[in-house]
Amino acid sequence: MRIFSLLISLIALALPSTLLAQDFRMQMITDGLSHPWGLAPITSNDFLITQKTGGIIRITEGKKTLLEGGPEAYIRGQGGVLDIALDPNFTKNQWVYISYSEGTKKDNGLSIARFTLTDDALIEPVEIFRQSSRRSTPAHYGGRIAFSDDATLFVSTGDAYNNREDAQKPDSQLGKIIRIDTNTLKAEIYSIGHRNPQGLVFDASSNILYSHEHGPKGGDEVNVITKGANYGWPLATFGVDYSGAQISPFTEFEGTVQPNVNWTPSIAPSGMALYQGEQFAQLNNHLIVGSLKFKQIHIVDVSDPSKTTFDTRVLTPNIDERVRDVRVLDGRIFIVTDSKDGKLIELTPTS
């Protein structure tokens, strides 16, 4: 009995340094979104949300407006209107970047367009990027976008599912992270060997680009992205095909980078934000990652980015919604959930 009491005391002492599920409350801001995919908070009361099925929604003070304009997307399978990012100088220029799939059933790919936001419309579209490697499948587009500085935009691209070997081909834009100069519109391949990366974050304080990607059955990954590196897909993977067949005999391969996190079984990660703020101080220098499969939020400790393996844990055990995107603004955490009745939710502290 004395040992049990001592154990309880030790756990109680450990609690203040670790956030638990009961420390959070899910506060719904709005619902009725059609398969929301990307989220861009302008302020903590003003949000832009892409819907994969088409259309960009602006939510101001809880009021929803379907914006006029926006990209003409090829909507099928995993394709549609995907991610959204504000220009680093948004307050001056009102520019918004949107990634989306475009084309036809036999010839489609990922594109990025820039728009100017007015109160209720997206106007003056400018094509920033159009994937040169085309495909005939509506799957594995990647599609996450993230700025590193005023004019450098990173975009993740998927392997199109059927073209996995192309992820290793340096002349293909499938299965890559691509760096785009938004002034000159020059696009260059930054890293290769990706399957379907759906999380991309640049940490300006350390100049590190983080990405996560879907493995097949097993082998979801978090990687620190460096220029010119090869992240292995499909030469090396911890996953197997959905049929149970092997994809590669290798879990590591010379010349490729091992993941900092290997989620096996897969969590189906989507969306990612780096937490820096005061509201949840314990989360500082953690990546916050949504899980489509387990309907959870996971965190990844990147306080020491030089570590070869990052610690991970589940932040919220089950929120009954597929988490599609996560964003942090001024220390506040916002998520969108992916369904016919998708929601914008803020995680708030219970006390």
Binding site: G77, P138, E165, P234, L235, D241, Y242, F250
Partner: protein, 147 residues
């Protein structure tokens, strides 16, 4: 006196499905190895053999089940065709091939991707269909000896 074999029609159907599932698994694994070597994986012959062998227990049973379902319809049709129209070995081999062609082709509109890597190119696809023909041929061979 009848020249009976040890296999009933049901047993022959199971044998045909197992053969086809095994061949489909082999073709798929070989296709994956070729794909990996095309991006400099440098898998040796021994490595490829181990890779193929490792896939068999996971992949062949699933593909044998798919083949078996396809063969149920295909062999019924082959039985009808072989009565008057086409030579029996040809009818069963052709219907076995059509069964696998249909099964593999049907995966595409359902999943909007090609689940079996071997089916992503014409050569691999042809070998998959040929596996179906082998299954059909085996079935007719085993059942014809029972007549």
């Amino acid at each position: 006196m009848q020249n009976r074999t040890f296999l009933t029609p049901l047993g022959s159907w199971v044998a045909a499905a197992l053969l086809c599932g095994t061949l489909l698994s082999l073709v798929n694994s070989i296709s994956v190895v070729i794909g990996l070597n095309s991006i400099n994986a440098n898998i040796s012959v021994l490595g490829a053999a181990l890779f193929i062998a490792n896939d068999l227990p996971n992949l062949a049973p699933v593909l044998a089940m798919v083949s078996g379902i396809g063969f149920t319809i295909a062999f019924t049709l082959a039985n009808l065709l072989s009565r008057n129209l086409i030579a029996r070995p040809m009818a069963y081999a052709a219907c076995g091939a059509i069964a696998i062609f249909t099964a593999v082709a049907a995966m595409h509109p359902i999943f909007e991707t090609t689940l079996l890597p071997a089916a992503r190119g014409p050569i691999g696809f042809s070998f998959l269909v040929a596996s179906g023909a082998c299954g059909g041929f085996l079935y007719q061979h085993l059942t014809s000896r029972q007549l």
